[in-house]
């Protein structure tokens, strides 16, 4: 069952797509990456995720699994004997990891995008302040979760590292475009160190999008239509 063919339907720029890819890499599971064209949805995508028509979709054999964090848990549970566990070992630590992953998706990423969508300096400043406040919560969460080790998950990259780490490309692109550092040694020392270690990991490097390329892409999709 676990040996059936694995495919990931996604796109290079999507932080959500990065998550299952990092997870599969950590578990040393080979997979085929099916890249969607920006602006259109393939038949396979529409067939595999008819409810939301969104990427990523993991295809395991002929079974589709949707929603990036659900896919990561699926990967961890299916290939439980390959490599270290992605979810923490105690129910409480798992709950904390899931809580923060949910926070990142529901609040943090939206706040980050508000910086790019901001119209005028005032709005931009407010958006930046919002993200910085949220980053301070995450910095504290890192200290609590990591318990002195390199990653949220302890010694090894795990679910919450993947959840936040997959946003680092967009974080850096936003810093580049806004001219303002959000995660650095001064403001978020622990996260800054963690980010470097995460990005250098061999499971992450091949799928982390290039900051400059993402910034160009972001400019395109957030371009204001002519008045």
């Amino acid at each position: 069952m676990a040996s059936e063919q694995v495919k990931v339907i996604g796109a290079w720029a999507s932080p959500f797509v990065m998550r299952p890819r990092v997870a599969l890499n950590l578990k040393s599971i080979p997979y085929e990456f099916l890249e969607e064209t920006f602006g259109s949805k393939s038949e396979l995508l529409l067939k595999s995720n008819p409810v939301q028509k969104k990427i990523p979709v993991l295809l395991h054999g002929d079974k589709p699994v949707c929603e990036s964090s659900i896919i990561v848990e699926y990967i961890d549970e299916t290939w439980s004997t390959s490599g270290p566990s992605l979810l923490p070992s105690t129910p409480y630590d798992r709950a904390i990891a899931r809580f923060w992953a949910s926070y990142l998706d529901e609040k943090w990423f939206r706040s980050l995008r508000s910086i790019l969508k901001a119209e005028g300096e005032e709005e931009k400043k407010a958006a930046i302040a919002q993200v910085e406040e949220e980053n301070s919560f995450i910095e504290k969460a890192f200290i609590d979760c990591s318990k002195g080790k390199a990653f949220f998950n302890g010694e090894h990259i795990g679910y919450l590292d993947i959840a936040f780490g997959s946003f680092l490309g967009w974080l850096r692109a936003t810093e580049l475009l806004s001219g303002h550092k959000l995660v650095d040694e001064a403001k978020t020392p622990s996260l800054s160190k963690w980010a470097e270690q995460f990005c250098n990991d061999p499971a992450v490097k091949p799928v982390m999008p290039d900051t400059a390329k993402l910034a160009e892409f972001a400019k395109k999709i957030f371009a204001k239509p002519p008045a």
């Binding site: 409810v51 699994v65 929603e67 798992r94």
Partner: protein
Amino acid sequence: MAERSEEVKLLGMWASPFSRRVEIALTLKGVPYEFSEQDIANKSPLLLQSNPVHKMIPVLLHNGKPISESLVILEYIDDTWQNNPILPQDPYHRAMARFWARFVDEQIYVTAMKVVGKVGEERDVAVEATRDLLKLLEKELVGKNFLGGERLGFVDIVATLVAFWLMRTEEVVGVKVVPVEMFPEIHRWVENLLDVDVIKKCIPPEDEHLNYIKARMDSLKLKSVQ
């Protein structure tokens, strides 16, 4: 599963579907707990301290350690007390259950809120959108007693939001959002739910609940007029 001296406390709100679903899970597993009714308009220090990020209920306190976000709490309960499992064992079915639970909370709930919150044409649009989403749930129920299959499961517990909140607002809003002709499976499923003791015990009493919904709607209307 060793017996421990457990202290389980739930900071909740009697009319909240998110709070009630936690009660359903705890009751299903026979976990004794202390319920602490929270005043949302006047948040207690304990609530603010236990959930500083969102300042929302429900919050489960297990031996003093807080867990927030209802879906996270449900998984924690299932992880901690392994009798009467809520989530399936198999990874694929677990993924499907998680998917549908999110669908209920992130799509059905958000859209259904607009049915209550809007009026006129905007409300009609919201009703149509809600029905489109419910059709997917309807499809899932074909040939099954519950969304979880033979027995009540994770998705059923989460979807009590549809059965006992969305469907109860119909009376107050005066719109049949979920007519039986369009959604025979959903209606059959609600009947099945009402046959389960734990559900009967844990959902808000109907009359009080309807009065509460009506009062909230009236206050929302007042707000939109001001």
